[in-house]
């Protein structure tokens, strides 16, 4: 038996022993997600036990080095762990922006001290992070950021506001782009970290068209931030932000916002019935679903190729923009078809049968796919300039 096979057996046994049955049920709603953090309330004992078991093994961040709270697994081992978890339908023990975003930034740009200091609490689910990039009025245009940190020797005093800060009302700390040099429009931004309990920080949830409020507006009024709480270099926060945007896009295009890339027509054939020829009994919708399915299977192939190339450095650095563009547009189309297939049932907004309007709300939610993490228009600009090398403008 190869080492990897041995590892697989070990993981399988560990999961069997440690993953509670409740944690093998599908996620039903937001409440089932374990976000961690100072004020997090576990939904039940199983959720808590599962997190603690994973923390002990380093399995909340299996590929991070052990000194930072990970399990130090190789990419092959990480893949096996994921496969085995998927096999038993284990829920993710811990989700957080700390794991997805700040962690990778610190691993790349952080000092050794910062890594130890910040990554461990993330891995243990003790500190929940949020992200502060966009500002009212800036949107896709990060150059126009206005939030300013005035240099006061050993600390900055930060004033301004952020928008689209995910779950800022529930987060403990924020990683945040703050202008620290007004003379340099393109640079002059620092990637700061600070506690959301700092005096002067307030948050206000934003109600979305889906009826949910996953985002906030966040206001900074003379917030004191110690001068050692930044990542990368002062005035070079761009480098960190760009790296993270690429990382986010990779996540989104690698499946996240791409949604379930499975056939849509097959599922609807049941709801619609079939005609004598065995075809879904709405010929035009059938045609649109078949065209969509064709695009889904094709996109899945591209996703595989992209990941294969990305991992081995063969992908064009801007190709994640293309994946993001194609994947998010496709996902929006999927949900238009889901609504169409669902007919008047799918219009229901709060009935029990509709699971509280789940289809309608998801459909509306997908409209943000092509806006968040860089709009489709920005993606197309980047492809045009950086991949096709089209001239200025």
């Amino acid at each position: 038996m190869s080492e990897l096979d041995a590892f697989r057996t070990e993981v399988r046994e560990w999961l069997e022993a440690n993953c509670p049955p409740e944690m093998r049920e599908p996620i039903r709603d937001e409440d089932d997600v374990c976000w961690g953090g100072r004020n997090f309330k576990f939904k039940n004992d199983a959720q808590k036990a599962w997190l603690e078991a994973c923390v002990a093994k380093g399995y909340t961040v299996p590929d991070w080095p052990k000194p930072y709270g990970g399990a130090g697994l190789t990419p092959e081992q990480t893949k096996i762990l994921k496969q085995e978890m998927k096999r038993i339908k284990a829920r993710s023990p811990l989700d957080s922006f700390g794991i997805w975003m700040l962690g990778p930034a610190l691993l790349k740009f952080g000092t050794e001290e910062q890594k130890v200091h910040y990554l461990n609490p993330i891995a243990r689910g003790e500190i929940r992070w949020c992200q502060g990039y966009s500002e009212p009025g800036s949107g896709s245009d990060l150059v126009s950021l206005q939030t300013f940190g005035e240099d006061k020797g050993d600390h900055w005093v930060v004033n301004g506001s952020k928008i689209w800060t995910s779950y800022a009302d529930k987060a403990d700390w924020i990683f945040c782009l703050v202008r620290t040099d007004k003379t340099n429009k393109y640079q002059g931004i620092t990637f700061m970290l600070f506690d959301m309990e700092s005096p002067g920080v307030t948050t206000k949830p934003i109600l979305l068209i889906s009826g949910n409020s996953p985002f906030c507006e966040t206001f900074f009024d003379d917030v004191k931030v110690p001068k050692d709480q930044f990542v990368g270099e002062i005035n070079r926060g761009w480098d960190v932000a760009k790296y993270l945007l690429g990382h986010e896009r990779e996540m989104i295009s690698g499946g996240g916002a791409g949604g379930d890339m499975v056939s849509i027509g097959g599922a609807f054939a049941k709801a619609f019935g079939k005609n004598e020829a065995g075809e879904l009994d709405d010929p035009i919708l059938r045609a649109e679903m078949a065209a969509f399915d064709t695009d889904v299977f094709a996109y899945r192939a591209m996703g595989e190729r992209f990941m294969d190339m990305w991992k081995t450095g063969r992908a064009h650095p801007a190709s994640s923009n293309m994946m993001k563009y194609v994947g998010t547009e496709l996902n929006k189309r999927r949900h238009e078809l889901v609504m169409s297939g669902g007919g008047s049932d799918a219009l229901e907004w709060d009935s029990e049968e509709s699971k509280g309007g789940a289809r309608a709300r998801s459909w509306l939610r997908t409209k943000a796919n092509s806006i968040e993490g860089g709009t489709s228009e920005v993606m197309l600009n980047v492809i045009a300039k950086r991949i096709l090398d089209l001239p200025g403008a």
Partner: protein
Amino acid sequence: MPLYHNDDQTMLKDSVAPFVAEQAPVSHLRKLRDTADATGFSRDLWAQFTEMGLPGMLVPEAHGGLGMGHMEAGIVLEEIGRNLTPSPFLSTSVGAVAALAKAGGTQAGRWLPAIASGEAIIALAIDEGAKHRPDRIATTATRAGNGFRLEGKKCFVLHGHVADMSIVAAKTDGGITLFAVPKDAKGVTADPRRLVDSSLASHVTLDGVEVDADAVIGEVDAGGEILDALLAATRTGAAAEMVGVGQGAMDMTVTYLKERKQFGKLIGEFQGLQHRAAHLYGEMEVARATVMKAQQLLDEGSEGAKLMVSVAKAKAGRAANLAVREGVQMHGGIGMTDEYDIGLYMKRDRALAEFMGDVHYHIDQVARMNGY
């Protein structure tokens, strides 16, 4: 007749447009929604509609209405669409009136004046499943005593929980028959559901509902033609409302393009967005012309109306859908917030798209009517 509004129609528009914009703008919808209004529309507003003579505009003069046509109703519906005004106008004053006026007889005599006077709200109980399939009606009406006994389930019945009367399509021995089922009929239960656009539509159960023989709208077994009239009118009306929704969304978006700055420019200066906005404008103009043509053919009683009605519902559906999608996308993050109106346009468009047959249904009808 030329395919633009004549002087009378322009006058009508000039009085209806400011009326709706002032009395029932988008904030009116928001208020109903945020107070979880249980009626689905404002009865005060309906009283104002009545003062303007709107509920009975399609009702023949002999029955106390204004005897106007679909072109005129379309003018009102476009403004209703542009302002996202909740109202029973489409079901009551367009769909039900078309059926009753076509059928004549007792029920027409009873309900048309009540519609014209603003007293009666009528619901259309046609659909029986999540998709519009009026050629597959399973609800049955069997002879019982002096009348009929109705058995079946209806859904997507707008205003069904508050309507004074519902027009119910049912299978009878020799065809389809339409029935006027009053609100208080025994065995009728309406289960209202809040929809994505905050309107209320009911699942209606007909559990051994007994009605008199004169509840038949028109003749027994001869409801097919009346149903066709109802469907043609309601579809065309929904298409007109969608033109209003699309136009409202497009106008908001074009205005935004002229105000919002990104990367140091008004975003409306970017050719990528300009071309998309211009393309949308073209699609909206096509939809508008198509809806007017359908209205004209209906008003003329032309044979070609049926085809053009399906073309209109399909085309208005595509154009308005493009308008709201481009609207949300071009607004960026703010377009995703509940505070901003563009998302409400997307929601209303979705409900109207489904009502009385979606784009796919009507494109399929176009193929069938052309023999393939």
